[in-house]
Point group: C2
Amino acid sequence: MLPDQKLLRIPGPTPIPPSVSRAMSQPMIGHRSQEASDLIETIRPGLGPLFGTSEDVLVITGSGTSGLETAVVNAAHPGDEVLVIVTGAFGDRFAKICDAYELQTHRMDVEWGKAADPEQVEQYLKDHPDIRVVFATFCETSTGVLNPIGEIGKAVKSSSDALFVVDGVSAIGGVRAKMDEWGVDIFVTGSQKALMLPAGLALIAVSQQAWKVIESNPQKRFYFDLKKYKDKIEGNSTPFTPALSLLFGLKQVLELFEQEGLDEVFNRHQLMMKMNREALTALNLPLLTDDRDASPTVTAVRPNGFNAEDFRKVIREEFALSLAGGQQNLKGKIFRVGHMGYSSPADVLQTISLMEVGLRKIGVHVEFGTGVAAAQEVYTNWGEK
Amino acid sequence: MLPDQKLLRIPGPTPIPPSVSRAMSQPMIGHRSQEASDLIETIRPGLGPLFGTSEDVLVITGSGTSGLETAVVNAAHPGDEVLVIVTGAFGDRFAKICDAYELQTHRMDVEWGKAADPEQVEQYLKDHPDIRVVFATFCETSTGVLNPIGEIGKAVKSSSDALFVVDGVSAIGGVRAKMDEWGVDIFVTGSQKALMLPAGLALIAVSQQAWKVIESNPQKRFYFDLKKYKDKIEGNSTPFTPALSLLFGLKQVLELFEQEGLDEVFNRHQLMMKMNREALTALNLPLLTDDRDASPTVTAVRPNGFNAEDFRKVIREEFALSLAGGQQNLKGKIFRVGHMGYSSPADVLQTISLMEVGLRKIGVHVEFGTGVAAAQEVYTNWGEK
């Protein structure tokens, strides 16, 4: 590889587009200046469509987890009964945050690699009518599952008046979301995934129903108090010093979305998912998830006949290509390929072709070109669908 | 002015050095990669000297306020009696966070523009022996006061066994701090001030005495739980996705400190303070603070005979030079000149000379060169001290 070439194909952080990198290098400005207000005003209208909402999207300086905690401490009143649908490591994180706040936390554990079942959620809520908040994960990054948030939202809303809170961290910006239509009350994402930015921003969209719960919530909080952010966004400002370099970058990200068109952005992610799945299947690599449950942003493989960590190591050392390993239960058992954000069908072909070489290097019999050919077929036929 | 030239002379955010800007533009890496660990390992030893501590410094992704809240929820157990020394808007913020957590908050309000009196703190703690935590501000950004943290620390430690928590946000990196010697238990700063970075990192140093209180603290928290950060830093990692672009930048900032030498960095800030104070005095502009209480990083002026906001507006529109206004009580009554971080004596001379022109433009009689000459005198005689 070239000394300065690195191929980052993990499910976040993702590569930064050059124009975004340039935008973030702009000279610093005062955070209470007219220029900063203008920046926030320019960004605001572009965020709602990413979540599928007509509501304002609030921006907190912090990791994705700060956004998840913000959702918990605003949506759940102290001592509330809540349901956390756990389909992997990030559902588990929601549950851990709820535990840290000593909520009465019900866990619905789903086998890792499978999506949650909306009917089961509906029944659970009928059986537990005191549940005030339901937490779910859109794309479960640890398994590559895309949960059916639309159907789960319908199940939540038809069987309870609980708030529905969704972690959209590795989906928003890569997968069509319909917050308002789906009945999502709080939708959270982070900047370092399909939004093509470095980590450091948590974005949170809030429904009118959620605001009622938030406004009367006595839960102790300060930095994560969404009311403070709501009060300020109306004047194109923030309650605390914003991460301005990331906002410079976010403006350019929205410009890139505008240029490509959001429909095409989401279509590209669907295409990359399909290319990956067909290629990996052609290479006899077992996919962790069924097609029905698959995320457009990340694909997990559970290899048999070779060690996932050995494979990742060879790929990294020989080609500077980073793939992700498994987390928690799946540590050492799977590897994950990220295909979101600044990632194209051409990048998928490159990744697959290097994976083929890497497989041969660790002694797995592979007919060169097999996976690539399968991905090429998907790519060339895609327009005809 | 040149179309692309902006002079940012507010007390944060501050200008980003070009090499730091370039460092932040590096391609993204995996946050759990060896490269990320190496980055954190390289940064770690450079942070303690900025605070004057041999302890590890923990890094949280968030605004400065997230660091202040982290200090509160880790140092104070629920219901604790605490004392907040309020010398301006940022002391007030500490008190507001304590109020949000329903601590039994004692406020010691000091006239804005004056420093806190260590003897008064000592007496207060003797009179209120149940106080568990004392909160103070090193540089009160809203007034340009540098509080005598060393003496206050001595007062706290000699009269109580309370923890001593200090907001170092606009001081650390520009003013010599001696955390261990002064008896500071938790010392917080943000990235966008004397550390020459965009906002988005809160840095927190913690004493051994504080760890005992933190480890037994039942206060509900998750993202701000310092134990999580401590557990991870030992393996050169973080509990949540770090703001990697800012860490790339922080590594380069430490490199710049190394090149200049920390003693010289602090000396430069002393020199810039003195140049500003002499120049502003020569221009008959009344300084808000006494010499004894003055901060090396920001200087506040309370003009008589003209309107501070009119002056700031002219300066901004004519020269693209940003000065800060007053906050809360002092809104409209003062203006503030930032001189920290990527700021040199040459920049002070430029700022003073443009301020002279701006004063003439709003109708204030000024003999051109008067302030500049005073600053030049300080500059040329400085070496002889």
